[in-house]
């Protein structure tokens, strides 16, 4: 009994460690990419310290209140977002043996948790009772369904070769060929939809400059810090899942499985973080149209082809 509790605590600690470590790495990568884009000197030590310094500054700032906010839901929003990221990350196998939560329907749990991100973002935008923040929240709800469908469909595509919704079989099914090659449409669609889901870079629609930061417009101090951390938590979770279901997870020669998983996650995390240096923020309406007319059909083609491959392989 005690051993089981200790094992559970250890696995929970592993999830927390990956979330904290990944979030810090994402913040440092963002500083590095920003300075490279600005074409100013990059000092690695200063870049590594900057996220901590900014966090300390926010921690020393008091939070502000707006006129008649819904204080309860406002405080809850970052916690909900971070919790959803933690649940999503918990089902991702970090190595062949280190699997925080081994669920038979791991990929469904992940997609379900990520689908609820829209609730956390809406709470964050609606609660302060502030017009621009509310407009930003509307935007996220408006685009919600359009990115969630292709997101879920390409995830289902990765489950077909494994004939399982559990993540360990999905990773091991890529022993000979990773899904990124077997299902070439899957990873691009996944990366675009997770940018929308984590409201980052070109798809930071609820946090755009045109709405002065939108859902985080009214945030200061610790709540702002928590919201930023929670957003990066989501980026880490979707990168880890992308590494597991498209890049073969822990599989790879010479290096230990955990190192392969970390490198693949870091690769996807860097791609996602860097996107905001290259792509302008897109219009909500344009994105919704593209999501329905391009991404969803591509995702359906992807899952259709994956199904045919799985049938052929089964014979």
């Amino acid at each position: 009994m005690v051993g089981e509790a200790l094992s559970t605590a250890g696995l929970a600690l592993a999830v927390v460690a990956v979330m904290i470590g990944g979030t810090y790495v994402a913040a440092v990568l963002d500083v590095l990419f920003t300075r490279l884009t600005m074409r100013v000197a990059v000092r690695p030590l200063a870049a590594a310290a900057l996220p901590l310094r900014r966090a300390a500054q926010l921690a020393l700032q008091r939070r502000t209140l707006t006129e008649r906010p819904d204080a309860g839901t406002w405080a809850l929003a970052p916690a909900v977002l971070a919790a959803l990221a933690a649940v999503s990350l918990a089902v991702v196998p970090l190595t062949g043996t280190l699997i925080p939560v081994e669920a038979d329907t791991g990929i469904v749990v992940f997609a379900a948790a990520m689908a609820l991100v829209v609730v956390a973002v809406y709470l964050q935008g609606w609660s302060p009772n502030s017009p621009l923040s509310l407009v930003a929240a509307y935007r996220f709800v408006a685009e919600g369904l359009s990115y969630e469908i292709p997101f879920a469909v390409v995830l289902i595509g990765t489950a077909l070769p494994a004939r399982s919704l559990a993540l360990v079989p999905i990773v091991t099914s890529q022993e000979h060929l990773w899904n990124v090659i077997r299902q070439p449409l899957g990873l691009p669609v996944y990366l675009i939809t997770v940018l929308a889901l984590s409201f980052w870079g070109p798809l930071a629609l609820p946090e755009g400059q045109d709405v002065a930061g939108g859902t985080s417009l009214e945030l200061s101090g610790v709540p702002r810090l928590l919201w930023r951390v929670a957003q990066l938590n989501v980026l880490v979770a979707v990168s880890a899942m992308g590494a597991a279901v498209f890049l073969g997870g822990w599989l790879g020669p010479w290096l230990p499985g955990g190192v392969w998983m970390a490198l693949k996650t870091l690769f996807l995390l860097a791609l996602l973080v860097a996107s905001r240096q290259f792509f302008a923020r897109v219009r909500t309406e344009s994105f919704v149209v593209v999501a329905w007319t391009v991404l969803t059909p591509l995702a359906l083609v992807d899952v259709f082809l994956a199904g045919i491959q799985a049938m052929v392989a089964a014979r």
Partner: protein, 466 residues
């Protein structure tokens, strides 16, 4: 206490979060402040520790500055620099750090003062600025319960004396609530000083009212107070206004034009989500400025060519601006030239009438699209063209004709370009989504300081003679 001390030590080397307010005479300084690594300019007052005021505040800007101040989280402080000896800002901010420096050194001195003040705030040796506006509800509370329930109507009637949202048909014919929102004059995405009252359904604009220009000084008849210095107009326009009266070096004008377009581009890129690239462009515009007129080497034209190519290949930028903010034929006719008209295929440029430009083989840049994308491309192209003209112009001087082609349009003939554009906004913005409205406003390159030179009702402003 130990944790706080560790955090304070860590925070001391972080960039200071500042919210920038630019008053009269502060427009160039705010650009330099954005380039200072010691500062982090925030989009919202909430996370800012320092309210930084560069320039003199008019009476309309003062109240808005107080509202911004009270929205900032504590600990907070005000750091300000003013070009005028008498500064009305001093009357509204009882505690502030005044920076005394000439304009050229103001940005560096302001940044240093912000760092020191932040450190003192964190150490507790400088008191946080208290709220300056009364902490009362804007309208009396008329509800019965804590959430507005218990009054009349489904959700408690009008608990704050404000009616429930009005309902009206949206573009699909559905009855939806309308949200009334007042933005400006310090919303960073909008042109400085622009105030809009907007009625939204979702994020679609139902109607727009443009507020009074806060850069227009209130005339105080028979005032015994000492007169404030005359409003000099935006710093960018100075050489163009001078060219209305005396010959000015073509190179100087073209460098000023290139610099203006690059400043605009830096700001526009930031609003479109490319903040780091925007800062790089702003740094480029500052370098163009520092080269001085007449120098023929390394004015930055190669960098601008590279920038233009990379931005023209950026499909997300094209996606965000294509087809947005098209003006009708009547609206374009009202503009009487300028970049916005040239981006819609109207080949009109005051420089075509100047022998100095004709001798340089000048031909105006014209685009056909008429949308925000065409305006982006035209300004990039014009920045490149201006740098080339500056390189080849040598010592040639303009001819005084009473008009000049400013960076935003023709000057000296009737109202200025921004004064012509402002009345078009309600018609132009109605029906757009909020994000598209911001894209449109950005692409028009409105300058409320320039509009203050020819305020409505003033006729052809004598300000052109300044």
């Amino acid at each position: 206490m130990v944790v706080r001390s560790i955090l304070a030590r860590l925070a001391k080397k972080a960039p200071v979060p500042v919210f920038l307010i630019s008053g009269i005479g502060g427009d160039e300084i705010t650009d330099r402040l954005r380039l200072d690594d010691r500062l982090h300019v925030t989009d919202s007052p909430r996370p800012a520790m320092i309210l930084m005021i560069a320039g003199r505040l008019t009476s309309d800007l003062k109240y808005a500055a107080l509202q911004v101040h009270d929205q900032m989280a504590e600990p907070r402080a005000v750091v300000r620099w003013s070009p005028a000896e008498r500064d009305p800002a001093a009357e509204v901010f009882p505690h502030f750090v005044a920076v005394d420096a000439v304009a050229a050194a103001a940005a560096a001195t302001l940044a240093a003062a912000a760092v020191n003040t932040r450190d003192d705030l964190l150490a507790g040796s400088f008191p946080s600025s208290p709220p300056l506006l009364p902490d009362v509800e804007p309208n009396p509370w008329r509800g019965v319960g804590p959430w507005g329930q218990g009054g009349t109507g489904m959700t408690g009637g009008v608990p704050y004396g404000r009616p429930l949202p009005e309902r009206a048909k949206d573009r699909d014919g559905l009855q939806l609530d309308q949200l009334l929102m007042r933005v400006g004059p310090f919303l960073p995405a909008l042109p400085e000083g622009l105030i809009l009252e907007v009625r939204l359904q979702g994020d679609v604009i139902q109607d727009v009212t443009v507020g009074a220009n806060p850069f227009v000084e209130e005339a105080v008849p028979d005032s015994e107070e000492e007169e404030l210095p005359a409003f000099p107009g935006p710093a960018d326009l100075a050489p163009f206004l001078a060219s209305l009266r005396v010959p000015v070096a073509v190179a100087e004008l073209e460098l000023a034009r290139a610099r203006h377009h690059l400043r605009w581009l830096g700001h526009a890129l930031r609003v479109h989500g490319l903040a780091a690239l925007g800062r790089r462009v702003l740094a480029l515009s500052a370098r163009v400025h520092s080269q001085g007129a007449g120098s023929s080497n390394a004015l930055g034209s190669a960098e601008v060519v590279e920038l233009r190519r990379s931005l023209e290949r950026n499909f997300t930028l094209a996606w965000a601006t294509r087809g947005i903010g098209r003006l009708s034929g009547d609206q374009l006719a009202a503009l009487d030239g300028g970049p916005v008209a040239r981006a819609a295929g109207i080949e009109r440029d005051e420089r075509c009438a100047d022998p100095a430009y004709l001798a340089l083989g000048f031909k105006p840049v014209v685009y056909a699209g008429g949308d925000a994308l065409a305006r982006w491309r035209l300004r990039l192209h014009e920045a490149e063209q201006s740098l080339r003209l500056a390189e080849t112009a040598g010592n040639s001087m303009t001819t005084v004709t009473g008009t000049a082609e400013g960076p935003t349009g023709p000057l000296g003939r009737g109202p200025g370009p921004s004064s012509r554009l402002l009345p078009l906004l309600p018609e132009l913005l109605t029906g757009l989504e909020w994000g598209d409205a911001v894209t449109t406003l950005l692409s028009l390159d409105l300058d409320l300081r320039e509009a203050a030179l020819t305020p409505p009702g003033s006729g052809v402003a004598p300000a052109w003679a300044w």
